[in-house]
Amino acid sequence: APTGTLVIAENETPENLDPANATNSTVDELLLGAYDALVQFPAGETAVSPRLAKSWTISEDGLTYTFTLRDDVVFHDGSKLTAADVKFTLDRLKAAKANVLNDIGPLSGAEVVDDHTVKLTLSKPFGPFLSALSRIYVVNKALVEPHMAEDNARQWLAVNEAGSGPYVIASYNPTEAVSLKAFDKYWGGWDGNHVAEVVFRYITEPSTQLSLLKSGEVQIAPDITVEDKLALMKEPGYVVDVGQAATPLYFDFNTASKGPTGNPKFREMLAKTFDRQLHLDQVLMGLGTLPDGPLPTSWPGHESGTELAFDLAGAKKMVDDNGWAGTTLTVRYLPAIQEEKSAVEQLQSNLAEIGITLNAEGMTWPAQAATVQKVDTTADINMIYSFPPFPDPHAILNASFNSALTGSNGGYNWAQYSNKEVDALLNEAASSADPAKRAELYKKAQVLIGKDFAVITVSYPGSVVAVSDKVEGYKYNAAHHQTFNIMDIGLK
């Protein structure tokens, strides 16, 4: 039986508990325990495996997915999970125009075949569809339906939970702490070492997180500074886990701008002004990998050498040749993220050297997101982390460079980047199921993107988490970046 309490420090508070917002990691880390999806990416694995769905079949044309559900799943209120709940979940997300659907491609509808069979149909073939389903958390129709009203139960689900996951959200004080307790009728059972309670404590200050970790009040502190993490590595009693994260950090240039960044030559100059090696060595203290283009080097479809190397002298020459000295640019970033701040400072410092002023505006995620919804409110440069919801080139490249997903179209393409050829390549790759062909298409896309100087890929930081050595079973989950595999964790 599960025992003990695991306390995790978290620096950002969650917006709400709505599965529609599962794209956001502070929300996802709570939902991951409380809900189940049809399929899952277990921590440490890069392939989808069954969860609510025991098995599935895919039609020849790749347009119809039929899932067979487990029959032993109960929601936290004791009622059985059926195909109707799955259909309801998807219908609700559609109606609510939920963010999670951005990654799921051309889903056209769900159909209940019988209690334990559900059929999902697409309007176009979509390669990573299964992977994308891992973020679709199934809600209890009976509980949610009465609250649908005109807001699609957004308000109700924001503070209430209707899941079937291993943990029940026992208390929700989003500025203080959220507590999850083990659900004793969980279908997966409780064999092995598990914790009975998981508490997320919201502690903004990295230094406070460190104090609490040291005093034993928390067992996992992900947000302390790199320097502190390095120091902890040498201290007994702590384990510093470095996960192979695949979350590229970009400087997105506003390619649609009427200002200087609208000019590809100017962007070419900018592309030479950031020293990635220095960032990796001195800001990340070596805990990460050196970027080579917008896709993680180990992923299929990666093409190397698409981005320019650091060459401040070359940039300086371009500035002098073109008379760009005196230009003023603005960058928007999240000051709460230390490496973003450092990168901005570094860029500011380098640009200052070649006569360009870079103003920085610190913001929070939602505020920054709001500014990119129009081209003319988009800053010259935006910093953005791409958190791919599943390990597939599509999750990074399509989200960041497809013109259908520009910021002004509500996506994460904050470079407002639009290139017909790239779009065509990405769409073709998405609808294909052949890995080799897809890889080829993605390589071509990367070359084109590189020639347009849409972004600087700043870094691939490792996911460095300081953990008390009493914790066992913590493993980084690349598909759920910045979350914790709480159902696998036990306390010694």
Binding site: T225, Q348, M363
Partner: protein, 279 residues
């Protein structure tokens, strides 16, 4: 010369003398400090980050390898300039409203002062926060936000002082002579209100400075890489465990400046305030 001699006769204790010396020093540093800095306050050098105070870096370096002393000196100008910007605008706006209100009198006066009363009530930080959120985060926004929430102080004070002056007999004497209003304002009201205003300004310097750095600390004021003192503290707070000097230095700078101007303000109050003087 006379004014200077008079000013030099004010300090009575060593604390006051120290405060004046420090106050002048800080103002001087704000003016010329930027030329004295041993290192470029903006130049990032990650290889030199988090160095403890040493002969080379007297106050150490920060998380991006910048010299803390250089940033402190450079930031003095930024911090004090924003403080004075707030105070100057607030004094001009507040006093104009206050003096006009006292002269007009009646219902207008009553209404303006009620408004100021109510306005004053709102916690300045929250009001400024609301304002800054509307304008977006920047040092200018923080300055405007503080102006927005601070003006009633001066409106009320100048109204009170003006009303007090207007109720005195020398104004009645002036009325008996038919002195026109503009002359009354320039020759009677302003010279007599000056002292009280000066005291308030001296005391407000520290209050405004604390407020500005507070806003910067929350993140709605100065933005990176500007070395505003409050922003420097915010910047350094994540390094307290392995770079305590980064937070300590700007904090002490704010503290010394605030205390100096407070002491000077108190001294001015003692020396200039008509109500505390014996006849």
């Amino acid at each position: 010369m006379r004014v200077l001699r008079r000013l030099l006769s004010f300090p009575k204790t060593n604390v006051e003398r120290t405060a004046i010396v420090l106050g002048c020093l800080i103002l001087l540093l704000a003016l010329v400090g930027a030329f004295l800095v041993p290192f470029d306050p903006m130049k990032i050098d990650f290889r030199a980050k988090l160095q403890a105070p040493s002969m080379l870096h007297w106050l150490g370096t920060d998380g991006s390898g910048r010299d803390v002393l250089s940033r402190l000196l450079y930031g003095a100008r930024l911090t004090l300039a924003s403080t004075f910007a707030v105070i100057i605008v607030v004094v001009i706006i507040g006093c104009t409203i206050g003096i006009a209100s006292a002269f007009v009198g009646g219902a207008v006066d009553n209404m303006l002062m009620r408004l100021a009363d109510i306005w004053l009530g709102f916690p300045p930080l929250i009001l400024a926060l609301g304002f800054a959120s509307a304008l977006g985060a920047s040092l200018e926004a923080a300055i405007w936000a503080l102006i927005f929430s601070w003006w009633p102080n001066y409106a009320r004070l100048s109204r009170m002082v003006t009303a007090d002056i207007l109720s005195q007999k020398f104004i009645a004497s002036a009325d008996a002579l038919g002195v026109p209003t503009h002359r009354k304002v320039l020759h009677y009201v302003i010279p007599n209100a000056m002292d009280v205003m000066l005291i308030q300004i001296a005391l407000d310097i520290s209050a405004v400075m604390l407020a500005i750095s507070g806003l910067s600390f929350i993140g709605v004021g100065a933005q990176i890489p500007a070395p505003e003192w409050g922003a420097m503290i915010a910047d350094g707070r994540s390094y307290v465990s392995n770079g305590w000097w980064i937070v300590l230095a700007p904090g002490i700078a704010i503290f010394i400046t605030a205390v100096s101007f407070n002491v000077i303000g108190d001294m001015l109050r003692r020396e200039l305030d008509p109500t505390s003087r014996r006849r």
